[in-house]
């Protein structure tokens, strides 16, 4: 299953890459990326299945904390490397676009 690099996926990867040692949870990721949690969840699931991201449940007593446990997400070493490449590739203009620009510039 090849990973489709959508804008939303990039936003999640960027948020996770900001500090790869940090473990944000769903609400934090949602606030950082501006994505709704239902949108972010399948992306995180896909990233996890591809081995880019790992996740774990918070180990708390929900009754004592008065809230359900959070699920924390973190980039794997492989995921961090691949995410950096994917983001830099997305930022780099495509060869065809550069050629078109060059042609336009040459013709002017």
């Amino acid at each position: 299953m090849a990973l489709r690099m959508t804008v939303q996926t990039m936003l999640i990867l960027q948020a996770l890459l900001r500090d790869p040692s940090r473990e944000p949870y769903g609400l934090e990721l949602s606030e950082e990326t501006g994505l709704l949690p239902g949108t972010a969840y399948p992306i995180l699931l896909r990233l996890e299945h591809e081995g880019w991201v790992t996740s774990r449940w918070e180990d708390i007593d929900p009754h004592a904390e008065k809230r359900p446990p959070r699920r924390y997400y973190r980039l794997t070493a492989n995921g961090a490397a691949q995410a950096s490449v994917a983001i830099s590739n997305a930022r780099r203009p495509k060869g065809a676009a550069l050629r078109r620009l060059a042609e336009e510039g040459g013709g002017a």
């Binding site: 769903g26 239902g38 969840y41 399948p42 809230r67």
Partner: protein, 146 residues
């Protein structure tokens, strides 16, 4: 080719089932949120307590909830129905994630969040089944028991 066709048919079927579930459970009122009830059904912790919910038998419990507007658990029921379409464990995790988010999110964000979970449920179904089938050990002709 056959796999692709079956995949497309499966995805459409999932969308239809989720759509029917949303329709049957009145998910048009999802913005009103059933999370209040969702947590009461699923666990004793969460927004129910956050709202200072009193016991079920008391008159206060029969009053419309100030946040949900007494919309009931329509959203929650729709989500639970959608979770049945997911492989073992995946549905529970999805519901728990939603519960975790909603317990801490601001009340104004609960409606859009619930809608986004429902709208993206078919994607979760597809991704989780794909992953489940990929992880599943291949028990075909090479099975020595057969």
């Amino acid at each position: 080719m056959l796999g692709l066709i079956l995949g497309v048919i499966g995805f459409l079927a999932i969308n239809v089932v989720v759509g029917i579930a949303m329709g049957l459970t009145g998910a048009q009122n999802v913005s009103g949120l059933g999370y209040h009830h969702m947590v009461r059904d699923q666990s004793s912790v969460g927004i129910g307590r956050r709202l200072g919910e009193s016991s079920q038998g008391s008159p206060a419990a029969r009053q419309p909830d100030p946040v949900t507007g007494g919309m009931g658990g329509a959203g929650w029921r729709a989500m639970r129905t959608a979770s049945w379409l997911m492989p073992p464990g995946a549905g529970k995790r999805w519901l728990m994630e939603a519960e975790s988010y909603m317990a801490e999110a601001l009340p104004g964000k609960l409606g859009p969040a619930m809608r986004s979970y429902m709208v993206n449920a078919p994607k979760v179904v597809t991704v989780s089944w794909a992953s489940f089938l990929k992880r599943r050990p291949n028990r075909t002709r090479s099975d020595p028991a057969s």
